[in-house]
Subunit: 375 residues, 2 copies
DNA sequence: TTAAAAAGTTTCCGCGCGTAAAATTTTGGT
DNA sequence: ACCAAAATTTTACGCGCGGAAACTTTTTAA
């Protein structure tokens, strides 16, 4: 064996000696360095340079724990010396399963999704996977397009917050049967391994209780045809909570399509204020972005918002949107548990990839009341 | 030729006939269908099925215009019938150049970047490239990590809005020498093919002129150590404009690190209001997010914002942030030309990929004054 | 009509890695 | 020191495609 591999053994020894001496010896001839800096072009080169067989190197990159400790150390040491990285395309071509994870959100222009995407991305990377982030930009066709192009990336899994009502459910369902899929934020029945999101029904109960305790029972302000199914749960939660407390629920719906919620909230608010006004001096908005628009409308009509003596209207939202701390006044709302939602999504997916059973098809996380000045 | 390819020709004809008849004939035997649904596993299968040689198919996928019109039509017709897509990993492994484009922004939690990223993404797709979006989340290490992992994707180009001051410039410079790179938003000297962004110096001039014309000359509100180099240009633009009009520039800097600009603006604002107050009743903020925080601070201290009689302070920002229309009052600001910036970035890159010369290393776009109620 | 140019076909090889099978070495327990 | 088990090495093939070379067919221009 030694005689056959004479050349590579010599190379290896020479390299080691060179590395050891490098600090102490000043090498005046640049070519001497270049000659030693063997260019590692592929796994074969790296195997030769590190003195380990290529199949073992391959096993290491698939799973570092699949090789013996001493071998792993040798490989990792060589890795520091030579800075080789396997060709990701060649790997993915031959592997049954890539380590790509598709992360799809309905709209990145919404800081809520930007924040949760950040959370999810980090967790994927920490778990040794490669997340790729996509935004459907509120558009059904783009959501379909994303899944379509995702197919060819042979992803190991998909984490998706669907658009909701306008999603092509059949398409997502079909995709989820081929690729392990976990839904978050928006629930689509019977699709994917599991769903994790906020308990929107509870949101309504929580904040209605608070609002009734501290003032006039609220009316509910929402979009007429919400694209997000959470909106329906929230309305139902509101109605149930009102009835439980013996109040008559009053729902105010405004027209508007798309994802420009602030705009819709503002325009809808102006329209209502300028006609009959809200049926209550307390308005619970279906989400924070609508509330931000409504606060803007109240300001324009010089209606002071808040719970103080001279206030004309109380406004509350739901989501704890990153900007809701900076509205005037700061928005009282229900916080979504970003951490819990992203944790559930990622851990459920990776658990399943490693063979765990799915215990819960639907997991709901409770929100917390965030009391600020607006209500 | 016919005799040699007899089998495949027959297959082809049979398939065509089958497709034509399918609508009219009810096929009771499922196996009959299955037999016809020839499974296309690779380009070779597709070549056989479509009756065109594999190298020609390959040429088509590299560039549909590289083949004769009649051939292209035949291929595209077959494509509709068989729904084959080349294996993206095998393609990228062998191609000198992939069609991947890396798109890197400093923070997706900032709707400004979310918006411009959306714009850039769409343009890349329309040009037939595959953008992948990354956010550095305001973190130097993550920016480095992104470029590092991007290397192995062999991207055809990079569109990056660097973090700015905290970027690892040497790393970006090194990357840009291997991969055609266009910068946007934040300028880094001598890096990349070209830079396109707003003329921040002009921003200052524009809004200072307006503010002086309509009231007290403004002071300038900024972060002490802005991570974004644009902030410096904006300050300089402010100072130059003030001096040109014969006013003494007054810069108010507040401490604060990171990308939570609203928070910094609010806390800094409160501190100043509670101590000596601003040196002018007109405050020009370095960017809209600071202004949003400052407006929130003024509200907390019951200082009416705006240009009306009973207002205590005028506040203006720069960026035309998506949310600045909904502040109370709506924020007067300078709009950035999203469209122009993203168009420049994408067109410069793709132009260069196709061999065009770079005409301008630096391209600046003017902003427009957006007059709202806050100043 | 004819010749040159352009496009397509055959045939081959290579990319970098996964992975299987058989042979060999190393390891841990006795 | 010995042996079975575990790990590694050798050897060899295949993945799906890019692309070169030599040849044949079709198109274009004269």
């Amino acid at each position: 064996m030694f005689r056959e591999n004479y050349k590579s053994v010599l190379d290896f020894v020479a390299r080691q000696v060179f590395d050891k001496l490098r600090k102490f010896v000043s090498i005046t001839e640049p070519k001497a360095i270049e000659a030693m800096e063997t260019k590692i072009r592929n796994m074969e080169d790296f195997a030769k340079a590190s003195g380990i067989s290529r199949p073992t190197i391959s096993k290491y990159f698939n799973d570092p724990n699949a090789v013996r400790n001493t071998t792993r150390e040798r490989i990792e040491q060589a890795l520091e010396t030579y800075d080789y990285r396997p060709n990701i395309f060649a790997m993915n071509q031959n592997r049954k399963l890539t380590r790509n994870i598709g992360v799809v959100v309905p709209s990145l222009a919404d800081p809520f999704f930007a924040e949760i995407a950040r959370n999810v991305e980090r967790r994927c990377i920490d778990a040794g996977y490669q997340p790729t982030l996509y935004s459907a930009h509120g558009n059904r066709d783009q959501e379909v397009e994303i899944l379509d192009s995702l197919r060819s990336l042979k992803p190991a899994g998909l984490l998706i917050a669907p658009l909701g009502r306008s999603s092509d459910k059949a398409m997502i369902e079909k995709f989820s049967r081929k690729v392990p899929t976990v839904l978050f934020d928006s629930y689509l029945p019977d699709i994917g391994l599991s769903f994790g999101g906020s308990d929107n029904f509870q949101f309504g109960r929580l904040i209605v209780d608070y609002l009734c305790r501290t003032g006039t029972p609220p009316c509910f302000f929402e979009m007429q045809n919400p694209s997000n199914p959470n909106a329906n749960k929230r309305r139902q939660g509101y109605i149930a909570a009102m009835e439980a407390l013996g109040h008559a629920p009053q729902v105010v719906s405004v027209t508007g399509e798309g994802w420009n919620f602030e705009e819709i909230g503002r325009n809808g608010g102006l329209e209502i204020i300028d006609s009959d006004g809200f049926p209550s001096d307390t308005v619970l908005c279906s989400n924070d972005r609508l509330a931000i628009g409504l606060i803007s409308a109240c300001f324009a009509r010089k209606m002071p918002v808040g719970f103080e003596e001279d206030s004309a209207i109380r406004i509350a939202g739901m989501d704890d949107h990153p900007f809701s701390r900076f509205t005037c006044p700061p928005l009282t709302t229900i916080s979504q548990d970003y951490e819990a939602i992203s944790k559930h999504a990622v851990e459920t997916l990776f658990g399943n990839l490693e063979g765990d059973e799915i215990t819960d098809k639907v997991v709901l996380f409770e929100g917390n009341l965030i009391m600020r000045k607006s209500a």
